[in-house]
């Protein structure tokens, strides 16, 4: 069996939760041959594989969002050869109408011979007429030039991606909606093969947050771009044979965004529990660990502030920031300044990129103050290692720490509100000061991971789905 995994901005080039997850999947399912279709923003000579790709990955194809640069921009316009009904459907698509027939539309768009390539189509009178109608209906008072260019720059990479040559496989598995989901839909329509969608976060929500904060889009164009991402995500939800999320909360959002209930499944992350059966190391004082990249989304500043409060009460405590810090230099420097201002230099240790297994044995508690998460692997790894967790109530953190309704194992840590140093500090202090509680939480965490979040569970469920759909 051949499974084509479609990833976006991740495996095998960009390490992170999703990429590690893919790596785990392909490494463990030795009997299946994988092909990787990796979508990256732009061609970059410094891109290199960041994982030891196993042998059962028989092909890695990389497509670039700006891959249209290989087409001549001066191409003449060409009108698409499509009949009136199909044209109508195409128009509904370009207007982000949610009731659109995706199969028809993708069938037209993916056919370069009939539709023309992205440059030809965006120059055509057909596209112009559709755009003009939309403009006159909804955006009459906006300046036309910007509208025209925004729409063009939106459809340019999209159409080009849709027209990508997709590797042949028995099953297509996208690891996000967005452009990866779009390619999943295309492969389903084109090759009539099953399409599975696994979402770690909620792609459209993430893009929405990004766009709202961004400076490169302004005014109505923010909402147009946001609608665009929700729209293509919906297409993926509708076309997918299985819509998989990591936890209940995300599943509900997927349902809200248009996936059908009977297709949705929750399959949480899994860890190699043997690997994390660590022996605790004795040490002086207390060690608080935070396994994270130093970037704004992890809200490291709140963590540092919380640690200041902890440190005032428990002076022999140390905070370990474990993970890379070179992604956002500016934020990193701000964190360094904060540490200096709060006079914590001696008690905060920044490790950089290291093997976390060397640090887990000497941690008394793991803290996560992220403002947004999916299902953080580091929490699962921490729990597997028997370390109590303090984490904000985002993503599936609560589910991991407190368990779902049906599980009676008990707490593996404490859940706090995001951006509240006091609450985080209180939780940490409670755990550090109460040896018994710490031990209980440690046991609970390990038990929960063993029961629900093992690598074996994850692999067997996916392999079930693969064989069932084939």
């Amino acid at each position: 069996m051949e499974v084509c995994i479609i990833s976006e901005g991740s495996y095998p080039y960009i390490p992170g939760g999703v990429a590690s997850w893919i790596h785990q999947l392909v490494t463990e399912m030795k009997e299946i041959n994988f092909k990787i279709l990796s979508i990256m923003p732009s061609e970059d000579e410094t891109l290199k594989y960041r994982y030891d790709v196993p042998e059962n990955v028989i092909e890695i194809k990389t497509v670039y969002l700006n891959g249209y640069h290989n087409i001549s921009p001066k191409k003449r316009k060409r009108e698409p050869h499509i009949n009136k009904d199909k044209l109508k459907e195409l128009e509904e698509f370009l207007r982000f109408n949610k009731d659109v027939n995706w199969e028809t539309v993708i069938g037209i768009m993916a056919n370069r011979k009939k539709m023309g390539d992205c440059v030809e189509f965006l120059k055509s009178q057909t596209f112009w007429n559709i755009l003009l109608n939309l403009y006159q209906e909804k955006y009459r008072h906006e300046d036309f030039n910007r509208f025209f260019w925004t729409m063009r720059s939106m459809f340019l990479p999209m159409i080009n991606i849709i027209q990508t040559e997709i590797p042949k496989a028995d099953i297509y598995h996208s690891v996000s909606t967005g452009y990866a989901g779009l390619l999943g839909v295309v492969s389903k329509v084109k090759y009539k093969k099953p399409f599975i969608l696994t979402e770690h976060g909620i792609y459209a929500r993430e893009r929405e947050e990004e766009i709202i904060k961004s400076k490169w889009v302004q005014g109505i164009y923010k909402s147009i771009w946001i609608n665009f991402f929700y729209f293509i995500s919906t297409g993926a939800y509708k076309a997918a044979d299985r819509v998989i999320s990591l936890f209940e909360r995300n599943r509900n959002i997927q349902l809200e965004l248009g996936s059908e209930k009977h297709k949705t499944i929750v399959i949480p992350n899994g860890v190699d529990i043997k690997r994390y059966k660590v022996k605790k190391e004795k040490h002086e004082g207390f060690n608080i660990g935070a396994i994270l990249r130093i970037v704004p989304i992890k809200d490291v500043k709140t963590l540092i502030r919380a640690f200041k409060i902890v440190n005032l009460k428990i002076p022999n405590s140390k905070l370990y920031l474990i993970g890379p810090y070179d992604e956002d230099k500016e934020y990193y420097n701000e964190c360094l300044n904060l540490i200096k201002t709060l006079k914590l230099n001696k008690n905060v240790i920044i490790t950089g990129r290291v093997d976390i297994k060397n640090y887990l044995p000497k941690m008394d508690v793991l803290v996560l103050t992220s403002i947004s998460e999916g299902q953080p692997l580091v929490i699962l790894e921490g729990m597997a290692s028997g370390i109590p967790i303090v984490a904000t109530d985002v993503g599936s953190c609560r589910e991991l720490i407190e368990g779902t309704k049906k599980d009676d194992i008990g707490l593996a840590g404490i859940v706090t509100k995001p951006v509240s140093p006091n609450e985080t500090a209180d939780a940490v202090i409670r755990i550090l000061k109460n040896e018994k509680l710490r031990q209980q939480m440690s046991l609970n965490g390990r038990k929960r991971v063993e029961r629900y979040y093992t690598k074996e569970k994850l692999i067997s469920r996916y392999s079930e789905i693969y064989y069932e759909l084939r």
Binding site: P73, L122, K123, Q136, D143
Partner: protein, 485 residues
């Protein structure tokens, strides 16, 4: 096209007849001046020699030299002229003045080499005295270089100096001719032809020097990128061919007629058709009013509408505002074209009616009059073909302009070829029909384009920047690196 437009607009605001007349005279001077001055000069020279000598063969020799120099210098320079015009206006627009003087040096070198080689090969084995060949060759190179200079001075609206240069040069030619009638230089052979040619050549050289001086004082600074403009042939190849096809189209009927029964062979050097050529030359003169009217309207009313339209399209106009501006622009084009067409038609018809009497009075052969009458109609159509090509280029509709110019070349050639065997009565019909049919096509294309111009303006924009490729871009790089030939 802003400088002169400003002056003209001020003139037109005063709704006084006198001021308006002044504006037209000024425009006439700037657009038609050089052409009229050149035709008048040559005719005065011919008249003077006719008056004092009756050696028709030598007169024809001189005439042949002039015709060939004018026709072929235009054909070889026209494609470059249009490329250079675009190059200069782009550089002026981004205020990169250094490139202008540099490109002038570069293009002058190319044109000088090209015209020298062509003339050299052409005259090499002709049976003419060496001094006559030298002078003919120099005349050809000089006239070619003057066409190029005029492009530069025209681009910065130095029309007045262009006219002055031609008038002064013409005066010198005439004076020297008169002097040479009394004190001829004793050339061994073809003394008369050689003397007027030398006088004419001296006048032209003077014209060239005046233009050159004016150019050098206008663009006193230049960089080293002399051949940068060559990249435009790769970037905008259609411009090159529009210039080539239109100019070839303009002369193709003449060249074909040289091999008709009207053609004469002069000293096995020049083959031309004096009767046909002079009829057609005169016919060209009749469209000068249209050139003037059009220039005035382009520089004043149309340019305002054009600027407003593109301003809205490129900046912050809503589609409705853009569309209103487009309609205003469309109306302006229609109005101006119809108005000039009406005026030109009246002028042309008047000239046709009057031509019998005038030509009879001047004792011009009947056949010239007949060819003239049909050629006048041809020129009427042809000048509007040219104007429409210019308007299309204003809108960056190069492919369409290329189509029109190619169609003009092909239809003129085809119809001329068809009518040559039909006999003298049909001479000139080829030019007329070719121009007429091209004009109809050009009007249809123009209407089509102007209605959809907003679509073209937006949709035809390249979606992203690509690396420029092409043999001429490569060539420009190499030549620029070497500095010069």
């Amino acid at each position: 096209m802003a400088g002169i437009g400003f002056v003209l607009k001020k003139l037109f605001k005063e709704e006084m007849y006198l001021k308006r007349t002044k504006a037209y005279i000024y425009s006439a001077l700037v657009s038609a001046g050089p052409w009229i001055a050149a035709v008048i000069t040559v005719n005065i020279l011919l008249f003077l020699t006719d008056y004092y000598f009756d050696d028709i063969a030598q007169r024809d020799l001189f005439m042949g030299t002039i015709v060939y120099s004018f026709v072929f210098s235009q054909i070889i320079t026209a494609p470059w002229q249009i490329i250079i015009t675009r190059y200069i206006s782009d550089k002026l627009y981004i205020k990169d003045y250094g490139y202008i003087r540099a490109s002038f040096k570069g293009i002058s070198k190319i044109i000088a080499c090209l015209s020298f080689m062509i003339a050299f090969v052409y005259y090499y084995n002709k049976d003419l005295p060496v001094y006559y060949k030298y002078m003919s060759l120099s005349l050809f190179v000089l006239i070619s270089l003057i066409w190029i200079l005029m492009v530069y001075l025209g681009a910065v609206k130095n029309y007045l100096i262009i006219s002055k240069a031609f008038i002064y040069g013409g005066c010198i030619s005439v004076i020297l001719t008169i002097v040479s009638i009394y004190y001829p230089i004793p050339f061994k052979e073809y003394s008369i032809a050689s003397n007027i040619l030398l006088s004419y050549l001296t006048g032209i050289m003077f014209t060239y020097l005046i233009l050159m001086y004016s150019f050098l004082t206008t663009f006193f600074y230049g960089n080293n990128f002399e051949f940068d403009f060559i990249s435009y042939i790769s970037k905008l190849p259609s411009l090159f061919y529009i210039g080539l096809f239109y100019t070839l189209g303009l002369w193709i009927d003449d060249i074909m007629m040289w091999y008709s029964p009207l053609g004469v062979d002069i000293y096995e050097t020049y083959k031309y058709a004096p009767l046909y050529d002079s009829a057609v030359f005169l016919a060209y003169l009749t469209v000068i009013p249209t050139m003037i009217l059009f220039m005035v309207s382009i520089e004043t009313e149309f340019y305002d509408k054009y600027k407003k339209y593109y301003g809205l399209a490129a900046k912050d106009g809503t589609y409705e505002q853009i569309e209103i501006a487009r309609q205003e622009m469309e109306r302006s084009i229609n109005r101006q074209l119809i108005y000039t067409m009406e005026t030109q038609t009246i002028i042309t018809l008047t000239i046709i009616v009057l031509s019998s009497k005038i030509f009879a009075f001047l004792g011009v052969p009947l056949i010239v009059r007949d060819i003239f009458r049909i050629s006048v109609l041809g020129s009427l159509c042809n000048v509007f073909v040219l104007l429409i090509i210019l308007i299309l280029l204003y809108f960056e509709m190069r492919k369409q302009a290329l189509f029109v110019s190619l169609m003009f070349l092909l239809s003129n050639a085809a119809f001329t070829y068809y009518f040559i065997p039909k006999g003298v009565k049909f001479y000139g019909f080829g030019y007329f029909l070719g121009s007429f049919i091209t004009l109809i096509a050009a009007i249809i294309i123009l209407i089509y384009v102007v209605r959809r111009i907003t679509y073209y303006t937006f949709a035809m924009q390249p979606l992203f920047k690509a690396k420029e490729k092409g043999i001429f871009i490569w060539l420009a790089d190499i030549l620029n690196k070497k500095g010069s030939f």
